[in-house]
Amino acid sequence: MSAYAASVKPAPFVTPDTPRAKFAFQLYAAVGISVFLLMMVAGVIMRAGQGAWLGIPPNYFYEVLTLHGAGMVGTAGLAGAAVMWYFLRRYVELSNGAFLAMMGLSLVGVVLILLSIGLGGFAGAWTFLYPLPGHGMGLWGTGAAATFMIGYLAIGVGFLVFYADCALAIIRRYGSLARGLGLDQLISGKVDPAHPAAVVASTMAVIVNVLGILGGAIVLVMTLVALYEPGIAMDPLLMKNLIYFFGHVFINVTIYMAVIGVYEIIPRYTGRPWKVNRAFLGSWAAVVLLVLSVYPHHLLMDYAMPRWAAAMGQIVSYLSGIPVILVTAWGALVNLHRSGAKWDTPLRLVVLGVFGWAAGVIPAIVDATIRVNLVMHNTLWVPGHFHFYLLLGMLPMVLGTLLYACTREGRASAPLDKLVFWGYAIAGVLFCGVFLDSGVHGIARRFATYDAPWIGYAQAGAVAGTVVLVCVLFLGGRILARLPRASLAA
């Protein structure tokens, strides 16, 4: 801390550090870690079921699948938003009320989703791919499907409240979202190196996710309408486009929010500020467009899509890798290189997060190549790459930030911490590696029961997943135990 404090002026602490704000942060940390852990248990159960170690009837399997997907995506959103809020409030004035309202509305949504799955038996997967929600085939009714959609809508409104607050605060401080993003500096060429990276990233998240949620809000209600008014038949291809637009943007933005922790935390260890430059601003401006236009790579196997859309899906996916690897990861490495940083668990986690993101992007890009997608789409290669950058990218960034916020003093970590960290990293890589290798061998995604040649892979995945679960349990326990000491000014 001292090196950084000595070399740069600390960020102006704009939003007051009140007990209520601290409570809000602690609430997010506690809820986030608990739900992440529960959903990981659900994940391990699925792997064990596929590995024939647990006998899970398909209806339960797909309910767990739906729960795992919806729960992880929602929690990733909340946790990413918590990281963003934690740092953004140092530069602009955020309200605690909006932040808490997001949690409140999300909890309402969670209750509805749990009711829909638990009581209604809804198992249409988190992607609720139209027209599946209306075709439960006796497993779930329209009421259950509708409850699920309304649950999502409640969560969406919660996020809108939070993003509106962030947008407003950024506009109050910087004049417009374009200025928050640094577009004016990019155009004029006069880059202010003190312009906070956290503000740039937050602005991107706000712009992109408001559009994503708008798309989601439309497609969710159209799904509801189709459930009750069969006379209105939606175009399945158009619905698919909107669903993947919404889903891709939402889950992608969770990482772009969590990465704010990287920009803020690494400099505090290295004593080198993360200076904004033209490449940085340019790449974040580009990311706004890239994240909005990359989703057709989910639709490469829909031959009814126009060719230009498929080609765009491939090319934009390639381009998306550049900001991740050559701006954020590169920047993190240059910042760390021969800095004399003292390593402890928060820093390890944050750097692991950057690695997981940068490395996870690679199989994603490979899969976005249409030729590859022809044989890899909807195999386990797909969960392989997104688990890589969520489990090893987004989650470590979040855990690192939370731990950082809780360990302002006494950051020394015990040998056990080190062991757990490496256990998490290595088991995580193996867990994702098993997914990827399964994809290479054609093992289908979202199968409740496996053919004999596939079972070994699932068992390996279950073992690795269990190790990851134990390690995250330990890390999560550490954070929860230290949560009362959390500081908003760390």
Binding site: Y174, S176, A178, G231
Partner: protein, 226 residues
């Protein structure tokens, strides 16, 4: 020169007094629209009913609400309003009422009912004016900026949802309107959603880019989201 200035002032004064009478003028307009020939004209097609007649009625109600909000201190209208205000902190109640009114009158069944029955149509006029236009004028100024932003997104989504639904339906949803008319109305609603999105997003996105002091701009009471 002086003469010209005087004349200009007179025109401005006249315009101002007309604005003051706007609520009266607009309510008159609403009543006129309800009269049989104009009513038949305004409801002859779905496009006209949804995109011309109904917005005009809402506008009439909005003008009335605006006048109510600006009623001079001490007047009866102002006293009534300050009592009503205590039930409408942050504009919550008014916005709830307005939301239901808006959605109800976009349902195909309501469009049909209004077209086919004079009584229901009169109800439509009254509720669009006093259950949508007026509450919006009354509540919007009291809405916190975050709520305004969320409402904007919801309105955009609602227009797009109904528009898409009307455009996508493979049968006539209104017994009173033809399929082509319905599709046209749907596409226009989607266009309205897009236009609304561009209009409300422009300032927050690019508001400060043209120069000027950002901080001063941001301090305006309306907030840039409004």
């Amino acid at each position: 020169m002086m003469v010209h200035l005087d004349r200009l002032r007179a025109v401005v004064r006249a315009a101002a007094s007309l604005t003051r009478r706007l609520p009266l003028v607009s309510l008159l307009l609403a009543v006129l629209l309800l009269l049989p020939p104009l009513r038949a004209f305004g409801e002859a097609t779905m496009v006209r009913q949804m995109l011309v007649q109904m917005p005009l009625i809402v506008l009439a109600g909005w003008c009335a609400g605006r006048a109510w909000v600006r009623a001079p201190e001490g007047s009866r209208a102002a006293r009534l309003r300050s009592f009503a205000d205590s039930f409408n902190r942050a504009g919550a109640t008014g916005i709830v009422i307005a939301s239901f009114t808006m959605i109800l009158w976009m349902l195909p069944r309501s469009l049909d009912a209004a077209r086919l029955s004079f009584g229901i149509d009169a109800l439509k006029f009254a509720s669009l004016a006093f259950g949508l236009g007026l509450p919006v004028a009354w509540s919007w100024v009291r809405c916190p900026p975050i709520a305004r932003a969320v409402i904007h997104v919801e309105v955009i989504a609602t227009l797009a949802r109904f528009g898409w639904g009307f455009a996508a339906a493979d049968e006539r949803l209104c017994a009173s309107y033809l399929q082509g008319d319905q599709e046209r109305a749907g596409m226009l609603l989607v266009a309205a959603a897009l236009a609304w999105a561009v209009v409300v997003a422009w300032r927050p996105l690019f508001g400060g880019l043209g120069g000027g002091k950002p901080a001063a701009k941001a301090d305006r009471r309306d907030g840039a989201i409004a």
